[in-house]
């Protein structure tokens, strides 16, 4: 939801380790991050914070999963990627390598996908590897009303 950005972030994991010098906290082992309707699951999460304000969260998994309910009337947005970077200030999610995002039945896959949470704009590009082009699948109209 729009309000997700200012909800508190709760993180659970098997293990956590704080490194004040670098200002990072590393969580490992079935890490789950929740913020409002946003839910991220990954194997390893690194939280970067400055002056104890969280600036960037990097989640790594095979793949890491991201889920959010952007608007009450819309369907869930499901995304995944080997690396998910959540830039809180820019309110943007970057999905890198084996990136995939699904919303209202439409699925986009590719090398890099950028998802602007506020503007709800998804940008995807094949990056340097031409073979790995961006793919998008839109269901037929009759099937869409079905689910």
């Amino acid at each position: 939801l729009q309000s997700d950005a200012n909800q508190p972030i709760k993180i659970e994991s098997d293990k956590a380790e704080r490194n004040d010098k670098k200002g990072t906290t590393v969580y490992e082992g079935s890490v789950v991050i929740r913020q409002g309707t946003i839910k991220i699951r990954a194997d390893k999460v690194i939280v970067y914070s400055e002056r104890n304000k969280v600036d960037r969260i990097v989640c790594i998994g095979k793949p890491a999963h991201y889920q959010q309910q952007p608007k009450p009337e819309d369907g869930l947005v499901l995304a995944s990627g080997d690396t998910i970077e959540y830039h809180l200030a820019a309110d943007r999610i970057d999905l890198l390598k084996n990136a995939s995002l699904e919303q209202n039945g439409t699925t986009i896959t590719g090398e890099k996908i950028h998802y602007d949470l506020k503007a709800e704009v998804v940008k995807a590009s094949s990056g340097d590897n031409p073979k790995q082009r961006i793919q998008m699948v839109i269901p037929p109209s009759n099937q869409k009303e079905g689910n």
Binding site: S100, E102, Q103, N104, T106, T107, I108, T109, G110, A119, E120, V121, V122, K123, A124, S125, S126, P130, K131, Q132, R133, I134, Q135, M136, V137, I138, P139, P140, S141, N142, Q143
Partner: protein
């Protein structure tokens, strides 16, 4: 049906238990709507099967040497390649776009909130069997449309479109494409357009070009402001149409309607052009009007330099059960033609038929396909007997006709009975006064019963006919048996019954078929025939026939896999003599003697005579049969009739029994009568032999021979050698000799034997050229009957034929062969743009008449 090469026949059992056999061209036709599959759950596809749409090369046109064996079969005649659709082997490739997910791949994608995705870079999209590629695309899921620009290529089964901008509706078949190039694979139609869109499966093309030539050839194309093509009906309409040949505009038409496949030629038929010494320039421009799916009209304005303007009309109506063609032609105030061999009328100075109207009316109807009832009308009437010679495409075939059949009949078939009512008369085409009008059968009623009880076959044939004759012309019948006592043609009713029982015993090794038959004839004449007084003569004659034969076989030693048969046959006929001199001759004559005559129980055809017969025919047939397919490679037969008693029933009553018995001096009879008399008193018939040989798949040879031992001379000898590969590669050589009674004119004895040889060929040379030649020579009078020579150029999208011809022009007054008949000659030219307009029928009709086995292709 000469397209056996490229089509494949397949039969499936239909629910009604019938075989549904249809021709299927390879590769398969357009996709029918597939059943609605349940779309499977889809997770993000791994990249390797992202939609890949190859770039179409050369509009899918593949040269011949790059085609596979199967594909080469689909090549249209004259073409050196074919349009080949790349295979669709990606998932969901058989789904209808409306039921399939849209899969699109691109280098970058940007999706905004209102579900509008902008795709950049090598966009490749598939949706069911629809494949699209372009540089960029915008997919708007709210309006369900896809906008593409930059090298757009759109492909659906049987259709390829390219352009620089396009808009596609994801849920329907509507497409719009700008600066388009289009191709319909099935009908070889391609062209360009400023804009092309498809709504409800109909293409609307603006500023279009349209051609069926292969890419790169500008042999001809249609340029039109607006064309719409409907693949379902196969009909296209065009407005403001310009036809360009090699980019030179040669014709303009405000509106044109033409077929995009060969369902039916329509639109502008192509002009036919002829030049002959008698008619001068003869130009005809047929216009075809496709009025409705089941009826159409062809109107042909025609200009004949030496005769004036003329109009021909043909209306055609097709229905599931009937097929009717009405034809008409009218030339008012004929200018008389310019036939220098014909002297003008000595008094008026007019040429033949000058100032007269010339017309033709014809009705051709067949009805009742697959039904118990059936109807038939075959009626042609012309204004005068020279109509065909002066105005029609004068082949020897058409020119030599002497009578026009005018018949209408309807019949009904039960399991054991067949009923038919028929009216039949003829228009006689002759100027010569000794050719008499023919009898009219108005009506003739047949009721034939046919029963089979075990091995017994019972036939109950009944026929009633009223023979009429409008002898308004002052021509008295020459022979008495056709004159009544007032000297005019005898007319009246005839009832003929023909009841027979046959014991049809068949074993594997042979058959024995005795038949007992009774024939009854009774008349009700308006007046008795000349010299007789009974106006209702009648006669009843029993007949006994025994037909027996055995089958001997052996496997051939000198040829593997063949069986040779030896089939001796004996055929005995006994029919008593009954005097029939008070019976007229309405429709009876002697049958042409041949090997088959050995096994017929009467020598007369028609109903007015029951021939007295006391004979035994012996025949031997040997066949060489391929054991595997049953195909007969050789059939040879030889036989003769032994007459056990003289025969006295004749057509000419003066040759009655008493007269023949006292046949003292032979020269009291005319030559024709003497021939009949000696034949009736001879003890055996001529030897009859037939042979039919199949030399290979396409070569056939045939010969038959009648040798008369009494006067040790050949009665008839014919031989023919034919080649036909069912793809219009033809070769025919035939020779006919037929001994005829010489005719005496003045003091000259004229040899009227028929000895004619015919040679005709259609020889494809190379891929596109065919040589056409025919030579029909009369050896008796050593003169040319009909000769033509020409060629045909058959390219991928057009065909051109040029023919030079010389043929013998009929002259009814000629009696002496050395009074040479006039030779007419002419040049015939025909051009045809395949897929646009049907061919002018002129040259095809000549070839069909002239060359045995020629079948005009589309």
């Amino acid at each position: 049906e000469s397209s056996s090469g490229k089509m494949q026949w397949e039969c499936k059992a239909s629910p009604s238990g019938e075989w549904q056999c249809g021709e299927r061209s390879l590769p398969g036709r357009t996709f029918s709507r597939p059943t609605h599959p349940e779309p499977e759950a889809y997770e993000p596809e791994p990249d390797d099967d992202a939609p890949k749409v190859e770039l179409a090369r050369n509009l899918d046109w593949v040269e011949q040497d790059a085609l596979t064996e199967e594909q080469q079969k689909t090549m249209a005649p004259g073409c050196c390649g074919a349009y080949v659709e790349p295979p669709r082997d990606y998932p969901e490739s058989d789904l209808d776009p409306a039921d399939a997910p849209l899969r699109v791949a691109s280098e970058t994608t940007e999706v905004e909130q209102e579900n509008v995705a902008h795709l950049r870079g090598k966009v490749q999209l598939t949706q069911g069997y629809r494949q699209v590629r372009s540089q960029n695309a915008t997919v708007d899921q709210n309006t369900r449309t896809v906008d593409l620009d930059g090298d757009v290529q759109f492909r659906e089964p049987g259709l390829l479109l390219t352009g620089d901008h396009a808009q596609i509706n994801m849920d329907t078949k509507d497409v719009t494409i700008d600066n388009a190039t289009y191709l319909l694979h099935e009908s070889n139609v391609r062209g360009t357009a400023t804009q092309m869109n498809r709504r409800d499966a109909v293409f609307y093309i603006d500023n279009a070009t349209y051609t069926t030539c292969e890419p790169g050839s500008n042999a001809w194309q249609l340029v039109s402001s607006e064309v719409d093509i409907n693949p379902e009906t196969g009909i296209a309409h065009a407005k403001h149409v310009r036809l360009e040949v090699k980019d030179i505009p040669i014709m303009y038409a405000p509106w044109l309607r033409f077929p995009i496949d060969d369902r039916r030629a329509s639109g502008l038929l192509f002009p036919s052009f002829q030049f002959g010494d008698e008619n001068g320039i003869d130009f005809a421009q047929p216009i075809y009007l496709n009025l409705a799916p089941n009826y159409d009209a062809t109107i042909t304005p025609r200009y004949i330099q030496e005769r004036g303007p003329m109009a021909e009309v043909e209306l055609r109506h097709l229905s599931k059960l009937t097929n009717t063609v009405l034809g008409g032609a009218f030339l008012s105030d004929d200018d008389g033609g310019d036939d220098d061999d014909e002297e003008p009328d000595v008094i008026t100075g007019d040429r033949n038929y000058e100032g007269e109207d010339r017309w033709l009316v014809s009705v051709d109807h067949e009805g009742g396909f697959g039904k118990r009832w059936s109807t038939l009308v075959d009626y042609t009437k012309v204004s005068d007997s020279d109509y065909f010679r002066d105005l029609d495409n004068t082949t020897l075939e058409v020119n030599s006709q002497t009578h026009l059949k005018q018949v209408a009949s309807t019949s009904y078939r039960l399991d054991h009975w067949f009923f038919n009512i028929k009216g039949q008369k003829f228009q006689t085409l002759n100027d010569d006064f000794d050719r008499i009008e023919q009898y009219k059968q108005l009506p003739r009623v047949d009721a034939n019963g046919d029963y089979r009880f075990g091995d017994f076959v019972v036939n109950l044939d009944n026929q009633y006919t009223y023979f009429d004759h409008d002898d308004d012309d002052n021509l008295a019948p020459t022979n008495t048996y056709m004159q009544d006592d007032l000297g005019t043609f005898v007319t009246g009713e005839r009832l003929r019954l023909n009841y027979s029982v046959t014991w049809d015993k068949q074993w594997a090794w042979g058959y024995f078929r005795p038949t007992a038959k009774v024939r009854h004839l009774t008349y009700n004449l308006d007046d008795p025939i000349m010299g007789q007084n009974d106006d209702s003569p009648s006669v009843t004659v029993p007949t006994g026939v025994i037909d027996a034969g055995i089958y001997l076989e052996r496997d051939t030693t000198w040829l593997q896999g063949f069986t040779q048969t030896l089939e001796p046959r004996v055929y005995m006929v006994h029919t008593k003599y009954e005097d029939q001199s008070d019976i007229p001759d309405f429709d009876t004559s002697l049958m042409t003697f041949s090997y088959s005559q050995l096994f017929r129980d009467d020598r007369f055809t028609g109903g007015d005579r029951i021939g007295d017969t006391e004979q035994i025919s012996v025949g031997l047939t040997s066949r060489l049969i391929d054991q595997n397919t049953g195909v007969e490679w050789l059939r040879a037969s030889f036989g003769q009739i032994f007459y056990l008693d003289d025969r006295y029933v004749t057509l000419d009553p003066t040759l009655n029994k008493a007269f023949l018995k006292a046949l003292g001096d032979p020269d009291s009879l005319s030559a024709a009568q003497r021939e009949v008399a000696t034949d009736m008193l001879s003890d055996e018939s001529a030897y009859a032999a037939e042979i039919a040989l199949r030399l290979s798949e396409n070569w056939r040879a045939q010969a038959d021979l009648l040798y008369d031992e009494d006067d040790s001379q050949l009665d008839r000898g014919t031989a023919s050698l034919r080649y036909n590969d069912r793809n219009n590669r033809l070769f025919n050589v035939s020779y006919r000799f037929n001994r005829r009674i010489p005719r005496i004119v003045g003091n000259e004895i004229i040899d009227t034997d028929i000895e004619q040889a015919d040679f005709s060929t259609m020889l494809p040379i190379g891929r596109n050229w065919s040589l056409i030649a025919k030579h029909n020579f009369d050896l008796t009078n050593s003169r040319e009957l009909e000769t033509f020579f020409g060629f045909q150029y058959d390219s991928c999208c057009w065909r051109f034929s040029l023919l030079a011809r010389r043929w013998l022009d009929r002259d009814d007054y000629i009696l002496l062969p050395d009074e040479d008949l006039e030779e007419d000659d002419g040049i015939f030219f025909q051009i045809q743009f395949k897929g646009l307009a049907g061919s002018g029928r002129k040259v095809d009709a000549l070839l069909e008449d002239g060359i045995y086995g020629y079948v005009p292709t589309e």
